[in-house]
């Protein structure tokens, strides 16, 4: 180790010995984000890989099955011979029994989740202003919308499991109502399996998110974050919550629209 003398001109050897102070030389934060936020980002990155694996599996299996061909002249029906059209499967709406509302309920669920994302950003924004009352208010709204989404999904699942009134006559002559992991009245069994796994895994994320939100609401109310001097925890939970909304955007497209 050499000490740098101010009376001598710097040689290149001196310059090499000096501790380096560049962005990536240690001792600072090159990504300008706190440890907690970075770790949340990396967790979400890994979670994105998990969800992408699910959706890619859906793409693979769907392309393996024949698609319904409208030009062949036969009307669409539930059959294991081809992949079902989503707006023929998801066309029920609570309270509108027997009516054909293609994708209506999913549209509502999508709006609820987008809106919960908005109330979440509003909570984060209130946190930046150290406005405890506003943080509480917007967290409560987010919890409400999150819980509503979960309830909607529960309805969607129970309807999907119960099936239509007429059921579907299978090739072996039996009539199947609804779907589970082993039988499916709407089409190939794998369609139901993927529905349960993909929307179920997403729903589990929403549920965890609601738990985190309830916890952060309690902590906000107790003044934990105010004492700490910042609401970064709300921001980190916000990142997670937006990610859940983001995943739904993709599930919505690849499961219900395409």
């Amino acid at each position: 180790m050499s000490t740098i003398s101010t009376t001598q001109p710097l040689t290149s050897a001196d310059a090499a010995d000096r501790p380096r102070s560049g962005n990536w030389d240690g001792g600072n934060e090159p990504l300008k984000a706190s440890y907690g936020k970075l770790m949340m980002w990396f967790f979400l990155l890994s979670d994105a890989f998990t969800f992408a694996a699910f959706l890619t599996t859906y793409g693979l299996i769907r392309h393996r099955y024949p698609a319904f061909d409208a030009a062949a002249g036969k009307a669409f029906e539930f059959t294991t011979a081809y992949w079902p059209i989503p707006d023929k499967v998801f066309n029920a709406f609570p309270g509108l029994h027997g009516m054909d509302v293609p994708l209506g309920f999913v549209a509502l669920m999508t709006m609820i989740l987008i809106f919960s994302s908005v109330t979440m950003v509003l909570a984060v924004e209130a946190g930046h202003r150290m406005d405890k009352k506003d943080v509480q208010k917007w967290l409560l709204w987010t919890i409400l919308f999150g819980a509503t989404f979960l309830a909607s999904q529960a309805w969607e699942w129970s309807h999907f499991i119960k099936g239509t009134e007429t059921g579907t006559k299978m090739l072996d002559g039996t009539t199947v109502y609804g779907a589970n992991l082993a039988v499916n009245q709407y089409g190939p069994v794998l369609f139901a399996d993927l529905f349960f796994f993909i929307t179920g895994f997403h729903g589990t994320h929403v549920f965890s998110g609601v738990c985190l939100l309830v916890w952060s609401f309690i902590a906000t109310t107790n003044g934990t974050f105010e004492k700490r001097g910042h609401y970064e925890m709300v921001e980190k939970i916000g990142l997670y919550w937006h990610f859940v909304d983001l995943v739904w955007v993709f599930v919505f497209t690849f499961f219900y629209l395409v």
Partner: protein, 113 residues
């Protein structure tokens, strides 16, 4: 738009600054608008590769607004933005590879069944 977040809002006088939420609602209306547009395509257009491409492009737009604005990634340093985005290229590759694989297996559908 760039200065809508940050610790500069924090005051030590106990006074709470006014909320700055215009950008949040703007993003919200963009997301709602794109979703509405998707439904227009669901009902006014027959299923086709073109329609699916439109859906995927609109989805990427929505994802951009959620990640850039709501998750604030647009306002982070470049290194963080690329750290998150570059691994996603692997997923695009995986998706294209496995969908191609699925279509290939489909071409033997009658052989398998």
């Amino acid at each position: 738009m760039a200065n809508h977040v940050g610790t500069e809002h924090t005051t030590h006088t106990g006074e709470i600054p006014k909320p700055n939420t215009g950008w949040i609602w703007k993003t919200f209306f963009i997301l709602v608008g794109i979703t509405a547009l998707e439904f227009v395509f669901v009902f006014l257009m027959d299923p086709s590769t073109l329609r699916n491409s439109i859906f995927i492009i609109l989805t990427i737009f929505k994802a951009f607004y959620i990640v850039a604005e709501f998750m604030h990634l647009k306002h982070e340093v470049k290194a963080l933005i690329w750290t998150i985005l570059v691994p996603m290229a692997l997923l695009v590759w995986l998706l294209i590879a496995l969908i191609t694989e699925g279509s290939y297996q489909n071409s033997f559908w009658n052989v398998f069944n």
